[in-house]
Each structure stands twice: as structure tokens, then as C-alpha cells.
Symmetry: C3
Subunit: 300 residues, 3 copies
């Protein structure tokens, strides 16, 4: 993989993805393979909005590589409150660190930052934009659990606003995957994403009822439906109730169904699913460490 | 010591306590003894409420062992604000770290967390519940300064709500200690704690006046009386004034009296005590490092 | 350099300054020179107010030296909110770390802290007081870009409240420098600073118009004029507009003019200056790392 920055999952070819996933698998097997490889390297953590999971797993990944991190701190403890531009902030921090991880509420901010600095920038989520390392760990989890051959993936919940789903759906077009999108009508895939997928020749189907399709799936990727999306509380409750997975529903699924979720979950996966062999969402979160290690190892 | 988790001081036998204290003493003597012993190990700091002292000393302890830490950040920067359960949060973080330190406002939360994860959980304070590493550093400080033979320990201040005192009192029943409890009537030991202590055969006495007992003590453990406990400001002032230590009062004490305090203090120990040989509270805080090093070294 | 603490730029002799700057230059050239020199040393970061730049560069400096840091966290997450005194806080933290970096809103707090602890205290800014490591990195940047021989330095903007300027102006009296102070009348150097400079025999001149002096300068040090200083918004806008640097203005300057700024900037340097060879403010910020490494290396 030869990229100066990782800004979008779309910039990754199938070859790039396989390089990262192979490296992650090797690291997950044998952490000793990289012991000391990145001693004396510093990763700058620039989180302009909160993110427990992404931040901690980048932190862990860099430290498990033998390197260290420096943290910008919360936005209230930063120069941002004094009116500094993002361009200035990253141009300062590039002098302190060997690479930057950027999380920012505004779409396009990672691209902008990358135009001002010479060190690698990794996009850790920019608003409604991209979150490519989430896509990579999702792909890694799918490959480890279900493989990419003759694969059937369902994505369920809020498909309208969920950038995780858009990004993953696009990345899956690199592989032999039939994709099923399961959502209420009001939260279907945006037209632009649907066109984008069709343009790649992807096989996609849309559903409103998970029960009609669950049996055929190898992977079910569940996302949270946010209360804020609904003007009416009753409407929200009705929809949330229909797009909720529990152990009973999963009895209709194949034994090998892999259930994923980008977390945090609230109610959309019942706790009784945790006890089943389907539950893969915690392992999925844990996969953030080897995948981010692989990426840092390749980019630094 | 063979425990998967450290949830409560009550789970520690006299043998466990001595193992930790002996190891801490060895580490305090010679930090080199563990140099590099825990390189590549990560400790997850999960503080759901603020705690300068406990957090910094765990951080220092892990780093002095050659390992590193990853920090969940404040609760406002965590998935908690998105409605994630404690069980989910710790199940994610266990994938990033080799052990977890948990501080949480709710009693029983460390126990709960331990039921969901496979890595060791160390309780760093759960509300009105337990704070076992505080108890261990208190015991270490007592042993280093006064020994455990034929010992007389006084605990003063808020004995009703102070979990530090309840925990230490219980732990001291493992040794040959007579315990004196000094407080206003409204802040006496809760009945449950008194019964608990009597049940172990401990020698305990209760007092309302520190002057009547200070001469007989080897250790005086002072705690803060919180304004919020009193409906009436005048009542608070009167009580706080009576349960305040200063250099003049300590002239009645034996030369070897060790004065301790879990800190932070506000007014309950006058600054003129800092200059006396009795003052042991800063050393006590510092002892958090070797004691937590010993514990981590034994558990990791 | 032999100082127990670094509290003020005023305590540094010309020899001290040159020792730090020489060491910084050597480190900037070859980081390997100190690899592993400070393994197992911990620096305590005690920031009682936010500071992205200073905190991150101390953090990076200590880690690049092979050591590590422990962070007190924000003041809301500290014992400070429970009413603990600064003296108590630093006496606790000195038991966890090998040196302390202190940032505090109150002038004199670094001096106060240093009186209570045995480990080195480095003042990282105490209100209207001192910020000596900023002065050292400013001096380093000047020396690297313009040298100290026959030097003409202009300082522009808010010269009344800008502690950075006061401190740098004082430090420059150690060298053969003519100093020009460019500001609106309402934000001129305080009388006390002017007297102080005159007392050292420094050559100083004051101006209200940057255009009349820019041609003669080797270094132009720009500072931010804060809106809060002006009761009237119109008055502020007028002044801010006059004390703003852009590429057009710099066409009058010598080719070698070095433009500096302590950052964050808001409007006082136009973005078109960033593209010119004059722009040295990002490099100046980056110089915080080798300068703080040098200082820590000398003090630890």
C-alpha cells in the first residue's frame, strides 16, 4: 500500500485492502513480529469530538507497536476555543508527531488537513464523511468470520445517515458479495449511495422486513436508529421495535450467521444475542487494534 | 496472591495483604527489580468519575513497571453519553488492554464489570462501595511507620459515610490492632460496620473527643467532614472545628504518632502539622505508587 | 546550567541560555544522541488551564527523550474542585513524577509550588507572570534564523498585556539587539517593563506604525490584539486592521525578515504570508520540542 494519507475508504483498491487485512492477521497472530519496530515514533491524536472506541484503539495500536501517542485533549482544552483554524492547528501538531489521526465533526476536514501538512493524516471520522479505519476493521471481521467468497451481507437500521454502512457497502463492491439493505422506508439508502453502488455493478437488494431475508445471510450488520431522526416519538418506537434483533429472531438464521454492530448499541441488539455464537460485535471492536496496528505499520 | 480481580478489600486474606505489602516494600527499595518486566502490557484506565490521585498513581505505577496505559477519557468524551451500558463499555475495552482499572459512582459496578470480562479488573472506587487499593496503601503506610504489633489506631471525622475508614477498619482486623473511632454522634460508624467489626472479634472503642484518646494512639487517621452532611451551616462549623487537628493538639500525642489522611484535605489538618514529624499524609499518597506497582506486578 | 527549578526567564544568564540553545540545536540535529537517556523518568503535567501547544510539546519532548508523562487532567477532573490547595496538589504529585511542569492562571504560582516540592518545577505559564520555555524557544528560533549579531527585532501588537513579549524583550538584553516596539498607544509597553529594559542598557524604540520600521528589521514578532481589551468594537476593528501583516506589506521588508508569532493567530497575520519565506511561526512552534527536550535533559 502506498498512500501518503488515508482519507477515505474509496481510495483503497482491493489490493490495498488485502495488504492491510493480511498484515493485521499476521499481527493478531504474533504481536512480537513488530516489537520495537516503531519505538521513538509519536502519533498525534487530534480528536475534535469525543470517540472512546476509535481513540482508545488507535492509542492501544500505537503503543502495541512500541511507539507512543500525544493527545491534543478535548476541544475545550485546545487553541480551537481561541479561534485557531484547523489548518493552523494541524500545521503546529505536525511538528510534534510523526503522523496525525484526525476526528472532526465537519465533512472534508481530513482532506483539508492533509493539504497543509507533510506527515501522514489518517481520517478517524469526519462528520457525515468518511471513517475508513472503521471500514477496514469491518472488512477484517467479515473476512475472518465469513470469508469473501460467495458472500451475502445484510445491513440493517439507519441506512440513510449511517456513514459506516455507506463506506462498508462501497468497499464490499471490491469482492464477490451480494448486499441486502434492510430499513424502514424513511431511512433507506440515499439515492446517491444507491447510484454509486449500481455504478460498480454491485448486486444489491432492498428490504423492509429483516425476517424475510435473515435466513439467506452470512453477515448481518446492525446499526442504531437514532431517536432524533423521528419527529414523532411513537413513530420512532414502532420503527425501533421492528429493526431490533434478538435470539428468537436469530433462530431463523443459519448457524454461521455473523452479527456485527459498530457500537455503541442501545436497544437494537437484545442482550440475549450476546450469549449466542452469532454475536461478533465485541470481537469486531477488538479487531480495531490489529487493523490499526497494520495500518500504522504500513504508513509510518 | 491468586485473584482474578481485585474488587474489595474484604477478599484479601492476611497472607494476600502481606504479599502485596512485601512486594511493594521491595519495589520501593529497588525499582530496577521490575525494569522491563511489563513492557508491552497495557492498563486500561476507566474512570467514570474524576480522581486525580488514584488515576495518576495507577498511571505512574504502570509506567514505572515499563508498561503503558490507555485512558478512556472523561465520561463526557465516552460512549456512555450515547447510552452504552457499563457491561458493553468494559467488554469493548478489554480488547484493548491487559487489565482494567475501574472507578465508577455506583456501588457494585466493579463486581458487575468483572462478570463480563476476562482480563483482571481492579476496583479503584465504586461509589459508597469499596476502594481496595486505597486500603492497601493505608496498610502499607501504617506498617512502614508503626508496624502491626500491639498497635493502636484512631480514625477520626466522618465515620458514617467514609468508605475509606470502613474498609481500613475491616482490613485491620487481620492484625493485632485496637481501633478507636472518634466522631460526632451524627457521623458515627454505621451499625452494619460496627457489627461487622465485632463479628471478627476486633477490639473497638468509640469516642467523641479526640483529646481524650490521642495520647494512646500510634496512628491517627483523619478524614474530611463534608459540609453537605449538615443541614445547618452553624452545626457544620461547630463540628468541623472540633474534629480538626493542629500542632498544638499534637503536643499531647506520643512522639511517634503517625498522622494520616486520604487527601484531599481542606481544613481538618492545619498547615502547621505539615512541619511536624507526625505528618505522614503526603508520604501516604506517594505510597500509592509502589503499592499499585506491586499489585499490578502480581496480577498481570 | 544549574538551576533546581525554571520559574522565570529572568533567572537565566546569557550562559544558561546558550547552554540550552546549543543542546537544543544538537538534539534537533541528532535525536539519537539522547535515545534511552531518560527511560524510566516520568514528567508530571500539571495544567490548571488549557494549553494545547505547550502541553503537547512538553509531552512530545519527554517521550522523544525516551521517558514518559503522567497528566493531572483538566481542573474539573482534579482534587482542585474539592478545595485542595495548590501546595497540597503539587506535594502529592511530586511523589509520582521526577519533575513537574506547571501551568496555572495565577501569577506567582510556579514560585509557590517550587517552595513546597523537592523535584524540579518548570513554569509553563503562570497568568500574567512568566512563561520561560516560550522565551527559550523564541530565542532559539531567532538564533537559528537571524543570529544574535547586530540584530534588529520588532515586536508588534498587544505590548501591554503580552507576557511573551515582556519576557522575550528582557531576555534579548543579554545580546547585541536593538528592539523596536510597535503598537497602538493604548497597548504600549507598561512603564515597568520599559524601565526594566532601560535599566539593562537596552536600545529600545517605540513606534505606532509598522510601515515606518519594517524595512530595518531582521525579525518581526507579531502578537494577537484581543478584542476584550477594547470597550468599543469599532475601536478594536480599527486597531486590529492597522496591526495586521500581509504579503503586500512584507514586500517593503528585507528578504531575510523572519516573521514570528507565539500562536494561535486569528487575523493578525494574513494567510498569504504563510506562503512566503518570511513565515517562521510554525517552525517556531515546532522548535518547542528540541528546546524543551534540551531543558528536560539538562534538568532531570
Amino acid at each position: 500500500m502506498r498512500h501518503d494519507h488515508l482519507l477515505s475508504a474509496k481510495q483503497l483498491s482491493r489490493g490495498d485492502i488485502e495488504t492491510v487485512l493480511d498484515r493485521a492477521a499476521a499481527l493478531a497472530d504474533d504481536l512480537g513480529a513488530v516489537a520495537g519496530a516503531h519505538v521513538d515514533r509519536l502519533l498525534g491524536l487530534c480528536f475534535f469530538e469525543p470517540s472512546t472506541r476509535t481513540k482508545m484503539s488507535f492509542d492501544a495500536a500505537m503503543k502495541r507497536l512500541g511507539g507512543d501517542t500525544i493527545d491534543m485533549g478535548g476541544i475545550d482544552s485546545s487553541s480551537v476555543t481561541k479561534g485557531e483554524s484547523l489548518a493552523d492547528t494541524v500545521r503546529v501538531i505536525e511538528g510534534y508527531a510523526d503522523a496525525l489521526v484526525l476526528r472532526h465533526p465537519s465533512e472534508g476536514s481530513a482532506q483539508l488537513a492533509s493539504e497543509f501538512v507533510d506527515v501522514p493524516v489518517i481520517n478517524a471520522g469526519d462528520g457525515a464523511g468518511q471513517h475508513p479505519t472503521q471500514t477496514l476493521l469491518d472488512l477484517y471481521t467479515i473476512r475472518e468470520n465469513a470469508g469473501f467468497e460467495d458472500l451475502s451481507v445484510g445491513m440493517m437500521g439507519d441506512l440513510k445517515y449511517g456513514r459506516t454502512v455507506h463506506s462498508l457497502a462501497h468497499a464490499l463492491t471490491n469482492f464477490d458479495v451480494s448486499q441486502h439493505f434492510i430499513s424502514p422506508e424513511s431511512l433507506q439508502l440515499p439515492r446517491s449511495v444507491r447510484y454509486d453502488l449500481h455504478g460498480t455493478g454491485a448486486q444489491i437488494r432492498e428490504h423492509t422486513d429483516v425476517e424475510e431475508v435473515v435466513e439467506a445471510l452470512d453477515v448481518l450488520y446492525v446499526t442504531r436508529i437514532q431517536r432524533e431522526r423521528f419527529p414523532d416519538e411513537n413513530e420512532y418506537r414502532k420503527v425501533a421495535g421492528e429493526y431490533r434483533i434478538d435470539a428468537e429472531l436469530l433462530e431463523r438464521a443459519g448457524d454461521d450467521l455473523t452479527v456485527m454492530h459498530p457500537l455503541p448499541r442501545v436497544d437494537e441488539i437484545a442482550p440475549d444475542v450476546d450469549e449466542t455464537d452469532h454475536a461478533t460485535y465485541f470481537q469486531q471492536a477488538h479487531n480495531g487494534v490489529p487493523v490499526r496496528m497494520a495500518l500504522l505499520d504500513l504508513m509510518l
